[in-house]
Symmetry: C2
């Protein structure tokens, strides 16, 4: 059962990717449009999120209700979300409904009505989304970490600010759409039981005459990350940390992933063993790797009672720093087993595959084959992880906390 | 591609189920053990959760660390959770690793060490799990709703109470295991690329000599549900409601599912349209059907700013009550498309299938075929939904809220 991946670039720059999976009946559709919140202008923070909600409220020949009914009638499970660089439109349905769904998505992306009379309920929802963060300290601490760790515009939050969202006009939302929605930089990926030639022809028909637009300059500025504490009478202290790693484009990428596997991948991983199992400090502790094209970051979180918070941070940082002193062959074997097992799970899911091929193309300009990823995992050694950590040690860690009292980063 | 489901009951009562999925490389293992929190004795609320954590800390020939390493080395992604009637042990890995994983699970279920020196960290984690609810008002309001709506012992929460968890002894945990872990009432389901005869032989070998135990009496008592308000200075008011429906064993079951589909299934569903789209009252609003063997319930949740909370409840209740006045054919078509689409997604996932066949056996004593479920969905009509609502109207709704001020259930 060989992997069947297809790619085609339209003359206007839109990239179409497909992975044919013959033994499934479902298919997943995934659009990445270069309209993430990094593009939200000053004074309009949150405009991307408002656009992402308003954009499905009528498009082409259908009003808001007809559009929802049409997608629901095709059994499309869908979601629109705003990332830093991209806005994502995701839908999952039966493979035979893909052509009809794509026709609707072409209207949504290219011919949305953006109705003035629906702006107010959309603004109201967007404001509530910001207010709801006060009841979700774990989500809030991660947002506050990103705000302080990343340089602008990478540090913007999709939710924006209450002030900016309330001040938005329908004109501003329409300008935002016209400026950013364009075929160049847009990636459409489809995974499932689809026919490539027919899909390609339909996408040419739906998107071939879409006019390219200018790419805005989103080069990150220079900035020094800042730690911080947000005082709040929460039951737990919510701890978030970040420090630099390598991006997915870097030769050290798999070694970096293995390093966080040793720390957090599986129940026998070091952080779980030391923080959770042995000391009972908290259930939720872990680190994960996050990548942009030009930079990678290790992001960590732990939530624990205020009386144990400093100890939790101390033990966590000690484990992170100790990693460079050595990793055992057993640990690497375990990490490889986990990575391979999750690779195979992903191979079997149309949603995972549609997401992966789009993400690969976005970051690398190509799709990694299973064989390539498998070979990279197979080739991992304890030495590679230690060498990587010698080049990219844990340093300059940014710490952000929400809770009754601030913590001290251990020396 | 016909569906291949196998079943075998061991002489001690353990039920083995398997679904063979030839085109995948993964497999999922799912044990339901009749040791849910309904069994937690007075004065020991939370003992089931403590047992579920402690039970993987060494079993058979392996100590805690060796056991974690062994499962991680097989690439098993796993989770242990405590429900009302059952404790669930779930693991997902490569099909070829299933025999090795089952050998380990047989040790975990039958020969856990339950080490005294690990009780304290486990208690500490369990206490934190309870404390963490204070920072998660959405989770807390659902727990408080269940506590007030269901009769004992269905209304117990797996987390238990801080007082009881702190007072637990290792002796009590061992007694709890010895009393409840037994083959009769246990269901093991496996889905993926597995060979039935070999699987059956291995399960006979691993579990055939397990001695049956007594089934405790868990018959629910009589009780009248009570509404309530928990005052808290949250940013949002968290609203939870419940009222009786039919269980999965009832002839009206699919009509009941279609009724909540009309309300909450898809973006054009009534609650989303009226509460979210038109009025912008809140993002998260919805109802879902929850079933035990003997009773079904509609559970609803909405979270919104305090100034909009009463209006949100009023609009939601009006929509729920209006449903009996009629459902359009278009709405039923849309609901059928959504149900069929999600049925097909489930067919393609080993984890979903392992969960579904075990749940079917637990509730119905048999596994529903895709054809049966598909025929039931195809057979749905608007008339069936309205007839169902005439027999089971919205009444006696229990309302529980967390927020700055209580709400009034509309007449």
């Amino acid at each position: 059962m060989g992997q069947q991946v297809f790619q085609h670039t339209l003359s206007n720059g839109l990239v179409l990717l497909a992975e044919r999976m013959e033994h499934v009946r479902s298919a997943a559709i995934n659009f990445l449009v270069p309209a993430g919140c990094a593009n939200d202008p000053d004074g309009q923070f949150g405009v991307g999120s408002v656009l992402a909600d308003l954009i499905t409220r009528g498009a082409g020949d259908r009003d808001s209700r007809e559009l929802s009914l049409a997608l629901d009638g095709l059994g499309v499970d869908r979601d629109e979300s705003v990332g830093v660089y991209n806005m994502r439109f995701w839908g999952s349905t039966l493979a035979r409904n893909v052509p009809a769904a794509l026709t609707i998505y072409a209207d949504v992306l290219r011919r949305p009505h953006l109705p003035a009379d629906e702006l107010e309920p959309v603004q109201s929802l967007a404001v509530q989304d910001i207010e709801a963060l006060e009841d979700a300290p774990q989500a809030k601490v991660m947002l506050e970490l990103r705000k302080r760790y990343y340089p602008p515009p990478l540090n913007k939050d999709r939710r924006g600010t209450i002030e900016d969202v309330e001040a938005l006009t329908i004109g501003a939302v329409k300008v935002h759409h016209a400026r950013l929605f364009r075929p160049n930089g847009t990636i459409l990926s489809v995974a499932g039981n689809v026919e490539w030639e027919r899909l390609k022809a339909q996408v040419e028909e739906l998107f071939g005459d879409w006019k390219p637009g200018a790419d805005p300059d989103l080069a990150p500025t220079e900035r020094t990350p800042e730690s911080g504490h947000i005082p709040k009478e929460t039951a737990q202290t919510h701890i978030a940390i970040a420090y630099p790693s390598v991006p997915v484009t870097h030769p050290d990428y798999y070694a970096a992933r293995a390093a966080d596997g040793v720390l957090s991948g599986g129940m026998s991983a070091r952080l779980f063993t030391e923080v959770r199992e042995k000391r009972g400090l908290c259930y939720s502790v872990g680190v994960r790797h996050e990548t942009f094209k030009d930079r990678g970051t290790i992001i960590g979180y732990a939530g624990t009672g205020a009386d144990r918070a400093q100890q939790t941070l101390d033990v966590t940082m000690a484990e992170l720093r100790k990693l460079k002193d050595g990793v055992s062959d057993d640990e690497i074997l375990r990490v490889k087993a986990g990575l391979k097992s999750s690779l195979i799970m992903q191979e079997e899911s149309t949603s995972s595959r549609a997401g992966s091929i789009a993400s690969d193309w976005y970051h690398l300009g190509r799709v990694r084959s299973f064989d390539e990823v498998q070979a990279a995992i197979d080739g991992l050694t304890a030495g590679m992880v230690v060498d990587h950590l010698a080049r990219f040690p844990v340093r300059g860690t940014t710490l952000v906390t929400i809770g009754p009292a601030p913590l001290t980063m251990p020396e």
